[in-house]
Amino acid sequence: MTTTVTREGTQAGVRRPAPRPGLRDRLSRWDVKASPYLYVAPFFIVFGIVGLFPLLYTAYVSLFHWDAGDDNPDFIGLDNFRELFADAQFWHSLENTVSIFLLSSVPQLIIAVLLAAMLSTRLRGATGWRVGILLPYAASLVALGIIFANLFGPRYGLVNGLLQTIGLSPVDWQANRFASHVAIAIMVNWRWTGYNALIVLAAMQAIPKELHEAALIDGAGTVRRFRHVTLPLLKPTLIFVTITSTIGGLQIFTEPKLFDAMPGSNNGGSTHQFQTVTLYLYQTAFENFDLGYASAIAWVLFLIIVVIAGLNYLLTGRIARTSKRRGA
C-alpha cells in the first residue's frame, strides 16, 4: 500500500514536464549528501585552526633562524635540527624528563593499584575516603608547586628538618640531580596518584564477583586472588592509565619551573639538573625568543611522543591478542 502511493507520487512527479529536478529537490538531495560532513565540520575546522595549523606552521618555522619580532627570518633548512641533535643541553633535558617520568609514573601506578585495592574493601565512609584521595588533584598546581618547593628547601626546608631530627644528613634537593628528580616526582605523585587510583578502582569494581567467589572456593587467598584474578582483568585500564601518564610525564613543566629556587627561572637549576624538555622549549621560545630553534625542539618532542605512543599501541595490541587466544 505504501509503495503504491509512493510510486504514484513519483509517477506524478515524472509526468510533470520538468526534466531536471526542482530547486527544492536538488537542495534536499544535496542536504542528504552534505549534511553529515557539515555536522562533523565544526570539530575539524576548530582542530584545523588550533591543532593542525600550529603543528604545520611550527614545522615551517623550525626551518628558519627566526627571532621573535624578526621581520625577515633567514631560511636555514634543517640546521636547527642538526644543531639540536648536537646540543648537549637538549639531551640533558631529555634525560631529566625520562628520569622524572620514571620516578613518578612507576611508583605512582603501583601505589594507585594498591590504594584502589584497599578502597574496594569494605570501609566505613567509603565515599569520604574516595573523595579524600582525589583532593590533591583538585588543589591548584601552582600552589602545590610553591608549597613543595618550600618543603624541599635545602637550608630551611621542612623535609631536611625532619631528616636531621631522625639523625640523617640533609639532602641538597636543589643541587643534587637525582635528589631534585625525586623531589619533583613526589610532587607529581602527590597530585596524580589519587586520580589514577579512582580510575583503577572503577575498573576493579566492574570485575564480576563470581570470579572471586570461584577462586575463593578453589582455595585462593587474598594475595593470590589479587594477583591472578584482579590484576589480569585490570590490564586494559592499566594500559590506559600508563599511556595518559606517559603523555603527561613527557610534558612535565609546571613542577620543575616552580621548584627552581630562582624565582621565575626557566633554567631548571644551576646546571639545568632538573630542566625538562618542555621547560627548555619554553625558555628557548619565550625567554631567548629563538622561535625557530624552539619549533625544532617542539617537533622532536612531538616525534618522541608519537614513537612512545606507537610502542604503547603495539603493546596494547599484543596484550589484547594474547587474552583473546586465551579466551578461545
Partner: protein, 440 residues
C-alpha cells in the same frame, strides 16, 4: 508578524553595516592623517585622547594620574599594573614581537633595557616626539645616557634609580671582632679586595657566611667595569674581558673560603636567611632597604646599618624608564605624559608614595629627600647617603642584546653551581658556553 520581524532584522543589519562602514572610514581617516610623516600629528586641544600606561610592581603613580587628567581634560588614562617585573617583561617582549598590544607609555626596567635598546626601531625617539622641557639636564647624565641606543636615539625617560650602598649587621661584625666604627667600616668596604679579605676573616672566626649570594656581588662588580658582557659591536667579551675574569676569580675565591651563604637572591630560602642571620653583609641598592626591613623583621631592627662605602666606587642596580612604542597612535600625547611623570616634582611625589628613588637632578637636591632618615637602620641619613651614591656612578656601561639574559640565566646559575660544589674552572666554562650559546 513574520514579515515585521524580518524587516526589523534587515533594518538592524543595515544600520549595523552603515555604522561599521562609518567606523572603518573614520579609522582610515584617523590613520590617514598620520601618513604625511612618520610621526602621527598631535591631537587638537579639544580632541579626546585615550592613553594607556603600563607599569609593574610600584611606581607610585596612582595619585599622579588623576592629577594629569585634571590638568588635561581631553586626556583619559588607563593604568595597567602588573605585580611582578619578570612576567611583565616577558609580556612586553611578546607584544613587541607580535606588533600589537603594548601601552602608549610602557615602563621598562633597567635589567631589560638592553633587550629594548637592540629593538630601538620599535620605539619613538623621545627627542623628536617629546616636549622641549624634558631636556638632558633634567636627569643625572648616566641615567639619561643609558636610555639611548647605539646611535644616540633616546627611547626612554628615566624614572627612578637604585644607587648601590652596602648593608651590614653591626652586631655580627662586633661578635666576630671586626671594627664597627664608621671610619673602619669604610676602609673595610673600600675595594672588593678589602671587602672579601674582611669576609675571609669573619667566616674563619665565626664559621658563618659574609654575604648572601655570589651572584649579587658579581653583578655589581661587572656593572662597574668599563665594558660589560658585550662590547659596542655587540661582540661577546667574556673570554677576553680581564675585568670579568678578575671579578670571577675574586668572587669564587670568596665562595671557596666559605664567605657565601649560597642563597639564591629572592628565593624563599634567601628570605628566611635574613631572619636566620645567615649573612653579615649585603649589596644594598636604595630599594633594597625595604626588602631588608621586611625580611629581617622587627626583631632585627637597629642591628642592620648602611654605609656609603661601596666597594670599587659607586654603582647602580635597578630603576626604570618610560618608553613610547611605535605601536602608539598618539606618540606626542604619550611622550608628554611620560615627560610629565618623570619631571622632578612628580618623581618626588612618587618617592613619597612608594619610595622609588628619583633620578632627576632637581629632585635629588630637594631637602625633603636629603633629610630623610631611617629608624630601622639606626637613624641613618639615607636620603643624603643615596644621593651621594647616585652621584658616584660613572658613565653607563654599554649593554648589548641579551646582556640581561646572560646575567640572569648564565652567570647567576654558574655562580650558584660553584656555590653548590662545582669547581671555579668548570663554573667558568659553564659561563663561557652559556654566554656563547645565547649570543649566537
Amino acid at each position: 508578524m513574520l514579515t515585521t520581524v524580518t524587516t526589523f532584522r534587515k533594518g538592524l543589519a543595515l544600520t549595523l553595516g552603515i555604522t561599521m562602514t562609518a567606523l572603518a572610514v573614520a579609522a582610515c581617516a584617523g590613520g590617514g592623517s598620520s601618513s604625511g610623516g612618520d610621526i602621527p600629528a598631535a591631537a587638537g586641544p579639544n580632541e579626546h585622547v585615550e592613553l594607556t600606561l603600563a607599569t609593574f610592581t610600584e611606581f607610585g603613580y596612582e595619585a599622579l594620574i588623576p592629577e594629569y587628567e585634571r590638568l588635561h581634560p581631553n586626556i583619559k588614562i588607563t593604568h595597567r599594573k602588573t605585580g611582578q617585573g619578570g612576567p611583565y617583561a616577558q609580556d612586553m617582549m611578546t607584544k613587541l614581537a607580535a606588533g600589537s598590544g603594548l601601552a602608549d607609555v610602557q615602563a621598562v626596567e633597567e635589567g631589560h633595557l638592553s633587550d629594548i635598546l637592540s629593538k630601538s626601531s620599535k620605539f619613538y625617539d623621545l627627542t623628536q616626539v617629546g616636549p622641549a622641557d624634558a631636556s638632558p639636564d633634567r636627569w643625572l647624565s648616566w641615567k639619561y645616557e643609558a636610555g639611548k641606543d647605539k646611535n644616540g636615539k633616546l627611547i626612554g625617560y628615566g624614572t627612578d634609580i637604585g644607587p648601590d650602598a652596602m648593608c651590614y649587621r653591626k652586631d655580627l661584625l662586633q661578635q666576630a671582632g671586626l671594627p664597627i666604627d664608621d671610619a673602619s667600616v669604610k676602609a673595610m668596604f673600600a675595594t672588593w679586595d678589602s671587602y672579601f679579605a674582611a669576609g675571609a676573616q669573619y667566616s674563619q672566626k665565626t664559621g658563618k657566611a659574609w654575604f648572601d649570594s655570589a651572584a649579587q656581588n658579581f653583578n655589581a662588580m661587572v656593572n662597574q667595569l668599563p665594558v660589560g658582557y658585550l662590547d659596542k659591536d655587540d661582540k661577546l667579551t667574556v673570554e677576553s674581558n680581564q675585568g670579568i675574569k678578575d671579578a670571577w676569580a675574586k668572587v669564587t675565591g670568596a665562595v671557596g673560603k666559605g664567605e657565601s651563604a649560597k642563597l639564591t637572591a629572592f628565593s624563599n630560602e634567601w628570605n628566611s636567611g635574613f631572619r636566620q642571620s645567615a649573612f653579615a653583609t649585603k649589596v644594598c641598592p636604595a630599594w633594597m632597604l625595604g626588602v631588608v626591613k621586611e625580611q629581617a623583621g622587627p626583631e632585627n631592627a637597629g642591628k642592620w646599618a648602611v654605609t656609603d662605602a661601596f666597594p670599587g666606587g659607586g654603582g647602580n642596580w635597578g630603576g626604570s624608564y618610560l618608553t613610547v612604542p611605535t605601536q602608539s597612535k598618539h606618540p606626542r600625547e604619550a611622550a608628554a605624559l611620560a615627560a610629565w611623570l618623570t619631571a622632578p616634582e612628580q618623581q618626588l611625589k612618587a618617592f613619597q608614595a612608594k619610595g622609588t628613588f628619583p633620578s632627576q637632578v632637581k629632585a635629588l637636591e630637594s631637602p625633603e629627600l636629603l633629610n630623610q632618615t631611617d629608624a630601622y637602620f639606626g637613624d641613618a641619613k639615607i636620603g643624603e647617603l643615596f644621593v651621594a651614591q647616585a652621584k658616584k656612578v660613572a658613565k653607563p656601561q654599554y649593554k648589548g642584546p641579551n646582556d640581561g639574559q646572560i646575567q640572569d640565566n648564565v652567570t647567576a646559575p654558574a655562580l650558584q653551581a660553584v656555590e653548590q660544589g662545582k669547581s671555579p674552572a668548570d663554573g667558568w666554562q659553564q659561563l663561557v658556553d652559556g654566554a656563547k650559546k645565547l649570543a649566537r
